[in-house]
Symmetry: C2
């Protein structure tokens, strides 16, 4: 049993058999959805067969994933996902919410949500015997691919714009990836990746373009279902999930995951999905506001580098995720993204800007009445704050420097007003 | 039941009742060991009562910890520990070892081993109703205290040398701690902390000085016991655990944990404990080599900032941990610490210098014959590489820059030899 029976184009609805295809739709270039063999899965598994599994990673959902045997036992590949969900009471109170959860994706092996896509992608590469995996990335997706490929000894080639911060490049290099900096922007790196993949037979991980990225990311939805929805108190109101949006692939992946559960008859109501974008990278939110699915490229400049995207590669499905679930897209200012880093920090959660963006969106939704006190809400922190220390420094005031004496300390405390 | 019945001084063997004491020995200033109520614990619990607990954190060992109710449910305080253990086959093969495990402490909530001590400390502070907790730290211990305190709304004051890496300072500030940088080294920060704690009634977390730090860190031993020792193949040779050493409190804490298990009759042979120090911060290794317990301060300059310590605060117990378990102390060059970052990286594990130090020590132990091919070995990565990206950059060579064209890419690949 292969778990999945084919692909369906999200734009033209054309269907394809599993063996016939690797990437996007050959007719219209739309992103493809993987079609699971829902009736076969339902026949073989009950909910308890999944939730009683002992594997504390995204691989506990193996029967719902389009790969057979991920391999990589005893490596970080098998330790991706199953991230903790917190219930920060003080944060909930400050927002006036009765129920609030924060899912901390910064605790993945390479410290971001992207490990979900890369873990499944690398497992897929192993299955189709692709030795080299290539991607275009300026940061988290590249780090995730480099880390997951290193875990199992696959070769990763990462194309990044030469303007990418040295620190982010360092993480790719430490994982042993072949890093090639291009004298151009992210889009030129993206295009070159696809050309190189065709020329050299490398397996291309590019977000959205490869249908397995959303299949990895959908495991976030499975975990929200198991960790939160199956345990939350009865409510007339559906769960509202807030997530930051760049390329649009995380929100699309979450949507896919919830739809899979619904098709299996394991979930009645899909949570309302709220995508949050920076005002300085709002291509998908613009389309949502215009009431259509036409993604018009922008010139993105947000400080939240992980969601700074001119031309989102999964925009259409991202718009649909919000529309079909009665969610919304919300735009936030970069200043509010920075403030939200501190909001999470004082609750013991350290987020990169793209992670705190989701909370910034929730704060706006609360203040504008989109979210009400009795709406149960889950916020996803998509990446660890250690990924972007410069941004973290903008959220705080510098520490004082004193001589190591009690006299100096007392003077400092007096000045501080305690 | 309080779980513990008192303290015993590690230097003069004086014993103290639980209520009588907060920090080190009032007579000789030696660090105190917490004495559990071993017979009571044994009467109430079997091994299976512990290992069948569902809590996926260090709190699964609650019955063996000297705090009653940690509180903080649904926060990162309750998500510390229970870190993954990897079995990197290529790394084992390159070292010629038959069995190798790497325990990745970088996946703790604030990304280092220190979360174990701070989680237990903050729980203890809650129990004794101490609102402000203070510590001296070069980084990780401070971040751990700041994060764990933030999780449950306690106030943290952190004294750090002004030379600590910016990523680490940013993390303290984001967690909302009151950070005071001292114009001096770690030791001057340490002394000032104790003075301030006495003056202002703050609860002092300082490593070793506070007996509960080792109690938190011992949970690392419990996990090694449950995750590895209970599952490893029968062997004539005991497990060898490699861990980096700065203050000496982690290796002492691990030793305490294994001794607790032994006293409960749950563990026959304690693993051999190998402490690894940088040649540029070797105070404890010096004492070990001299065959005594006299810790003579050094002037520490290693790049591995988390283990750069002039005067280790838990040196005596650290020496004993190696001596009593037939382990050793090993000194490594900073260049080898940097190389070991890359060694772990290509296996998908990103370590800060203090984390890779343990592997550097293992490599030296293998090359000098201290460790043989059939010794089962576990290496602890004590902290996440994202904590010190500057050091990571020293472990790799820079990436090439090319024009975004296939012509340029092909030329680059030819030059690279594919």
């Amino acid at each position: 049993m292969k778990n999945y029976i084919g692909y369906k184009c999200s734009i033209c609805n054309a269907e394809f058999a599993p063996a016939s295809i690797l990437y996007n739709c050959p007719s219209c270039e739309g992103n493809l959805d993987v079609i699971l063999d829902y009736s076969e899965i339902r026949r073989k598994y009950r909910i308890e067969d999944i939730t009683s599994r002992t594997e504390q990673s995204l691989w506990r959902y193996g029967p719902l994933l389009p790969v057979q045997d991920p391999g990589g036992e005893g490596t970080p590949l098998r330790a991706a996902g199953w991230t903790p969900v917190y219930t920060p009471e003080r944060l909930a109170a400050s927002l006036g919410l009765q129920q609030l959860w924060v899912k901390d994706e910064g605790r993945n092996p390479t410290a971001s949500f992207k490990d979900r896509a890369s873990a499944v992608l690398v497992a897929r590469a192993r299955e189709i015997k692709a030795e080299t995996i290539v991607t275009a990335s300026t940061g988290n997706a590249g780090a995730a691919l480099a880390g997951m490929a290193a875990a199992v000894g696959h070769r990763a080639v990462i194309f990044a714009p030469k303007t990418a911060p040295q620190a982010k490049i360092a993480q790719l290099l430490v994982y042993g990836a072949h890093v090639i900096l291009v004298d151009g922007n992210y889009d030129s790196a993206f295009d070159l990746t696809i050309e190189a993949s065709k020329e050299f037979g490398w397996y291309c991980r590019n977000t959205g373009y490869n249908p397995f990225t959303a299949e990895g990311k959908k495991t976030g939805a499975f975990e929200i279902w198991e960790q939160v929805m199956m345990r939350m108190p009865e409510s007339d109101k559906p769960l509202c999930v807030f997530v930051s949006v760049g390329d649009g692939n995380i929100i699309s992946g979450l949507h896919k995951g919830f739809k899979d559960l619904q098709k299996l008859g394991w979930l009645e109501t899909i949570p309302r999905l709220f995508g949050v974008q920076s005002e300085l990278s709002p291509a998908i939110a613009n389309a949502f506001e215009a009431g259509n699915e036409t993604i018009i490229p922008v010139s993105a400049t947000t400080i939240a580098d992980s969601i700074s995207v001119d031309l989102p590669r999964d925009g259409v499905r991202a718009v649909r995720a919000a529309v079909e679930t009665h969610g919304a897209f919300i735009k936030v200012a970069d200043a509010d993204i920075i403030t939200a880093i501190a909001d999470l920090g004082i609750n013991g959660i350290f987020a990169e800007p793209a992670g705190s963006t989701a909370l910034a969106g929730l704060k706006k939704a609360v203040s504008t009445g989109i979210i009400e006190a009795d709406d149960p809400v889950l916020v996803i922190n998509s990446g660890n704050g250690l990924k972007d220390v410069r941004a973290a420094m903008m959220a705080v005031t510098n520490a004082a420097i004193i001589e190591p004496t009690m006299t100096a300390l007392k003077k400092h405390l007096e000045e501080k007003g305690k």
